[in-house]
Amino acid sequence: MSSDKSVISARNLNLTFETNDGPIHALKDVNLEINQGDFVSFIGPSGCGKTTFLRVMADLEQPTGGSVTVNGVSPEEARRSRAYGYVFQAAGLYPWRTIGGNIRLPLEIMGISKAEQAKRVERVLELVDLEGFERKFPWQLSGGMQQRASIARALSFDADILLMDEPFGALDEIVRDHLNEQLLKLWARTEKTIAFVTHSIPEAVYLSTKIVVMSPRPGRITDVIESPFPKERPLDIRDSAEFLEIAHRVREGLRAGHLDE
């Protein structure tokens, strides 16, 4: 499934936030390897550092100890070379831009030609099933459609790495299932490396090649579960015994994290 080329590698990563109430150890001694083509899910109770970890990879947060490399270089260099696309929990579209304009935003910043912009916008809109909505404004779309547009935005400049922070958190189960399927297809087709934060056990199990279970106070990795499923995964695998077993293992891991408190 995944090649052995390491794309992201964290070694003894530590991150402490200094707050008025004292320091918060958001990440403690985190070690992780993500290989090219991996689909890695991060799951864990609120506050266990999932977002923080993703933000460190994206150079949106500075670790206070240890090191991360992305494509062999520092996160900052990776960010400057536009190595990844980031999808936030909320769609975060700019309300003063149309859907097309939002998707074009990174392309404009990266100085891509108008003609090429138009081509790319069309392609990614198709990819996320939003043909014909290019000229609509964000508020004219439902939450699910906005979220798809934000994924399209992250895809538009074709980075090899996708960092997704609970992208489907606000959606209902059916829409979520649908987007999960689509995301898997995209991943299978493009061979991107994906780091994906979620709260949902079935989602994590269904999507990933690797499930990273985390636990809070201090934020750390408590378990890393490899998934045996092939790249093509129909939705029904969720009713399989194998699936339920992995889900059970994840749930146990989560519960253990909660009991620690």
Binding site: R79, Y84, Y94, W96, I109, M110, W139
Partner: protein, 280 residues
């Protein structure tokens, strides 16, 4: 007494009509939205006329609305010349200069938290300088013609626009800013593609407050030296001549111009910030 009773009756009538209109099914029609304040205003004017006539108020103290209206028509050219001098030359120029300066400083201040922390308190201190104190100084510096009025206006409108623009430039969510970071976007793209658009709703808040300040500033500054034309010149001179109907005619023009200016900014705001929830 009869006049007072008539006034009370007319007030009651106007209020009753407005209550019906405002709480009725038509209350959201655009025409009704204009009609209600118009009826309110008309009621006040009619009562004013009644009381002035009824109690024989001396016109050198309070002229009747009818006399003011008559002045508005008979003194058209002069009122226009005054309007041109004070509003077009003085207030508008000052408004544009003050607005651009505020925008420039706001963008500058926004580059660093340090500058913002320094500029805002100092700016608010300057906003507290009373106009009657700065107007004579500016007349001294920039002469009696419209330039000094523009300078007073620029100073008066500067602060509200500055504060609102600074607040607006900061009104981006962490996520919106982080997004730009993930694109490796530098300062200018972030400014033009994120901060300035996000600042627009706030900026218009400031621009709207500044409209009324601009008019008042230009008019009041003329009290401290002016050529022999201008709304402030006319108000103070006519007042000294006890031509209060003329004073009020200028006040009416000022109010009309101020409301129109305010309305215009509201209209532009609607166009520019169409995307903001408050406009949808």
């Amino acid at each position: 007494m009869i006049w007072a009773i008539a006034a009370v009756l007319i007030w009651a009538l106007g209020w009753w009509v407005n209550v019906r209109l405002a709480n009725g099914p038509v209350s959201d029609l655009p025409a009704v939205k204009v009609l209600i304040p118009a009826i309110f205003g008309l009621t006040v004017v009619v009562i004013w006329e009644l009381l002035v006539v009824g109690f024989e108020v001396n016109p050198v103290i309070l002229p009747a609305p009818s006399a003011i209206v008559e002045r508005l028509f008979s003194e058209g050219p002069r009122l226009w010349a005054d309007f041109h001098q004070t509003i077009i030359k003085g207030a508008m120029t000052g408004y544009v200069i003050g607005g651009l300066a505020a925008l420039g400083i706001a963008v500058l201040a926004d580059r660093s938290d340090f500058l913002t922390r320094g500029i805002l308190p100092v700016g608010s201190f300057m906003a507290a300088l009373p106009i009657v104190g700065i107007a004579p100084i500016f007349v001294k510096w920039f002469g009696s013609d419209w330039e000094s009025k523009a300078a007073v206006v620029a100073v008066m409108v500067f602060f509200p626009i500055l504060v609102n623009t600074v607040a607006g430039l900061r009104d981006t969510s962490v996520m919106q800013r982080d997004l730009m970071r993930t694109y490796g976007a530098g300062y200018w793209p972030t400014l033009f593609k994120l901060r300035l658009p996000a600042a627009m709703p706030f900026m218009f808040n400031g621009l709207k407050i500044a409209t009324t300040l601009a008019l008042i500033g230009a008019i009041v500054a003329e009290f401290f030296g002016s050529p022999t034309v201008g709304m402030g010149f006319r108000i103070s001179t006519s007042f000294g001549q006890l031509a209060l109907d003329m004073v009020w005619a200028e006040i009416v023009i000022a109010a009309l111009a101020g409301s129109a200016f305010y309305g215009l900014m509201t209209l532009i705001e609607k166009r520019v910030t169409f995307w903001h929830p408050s406009q949808r």
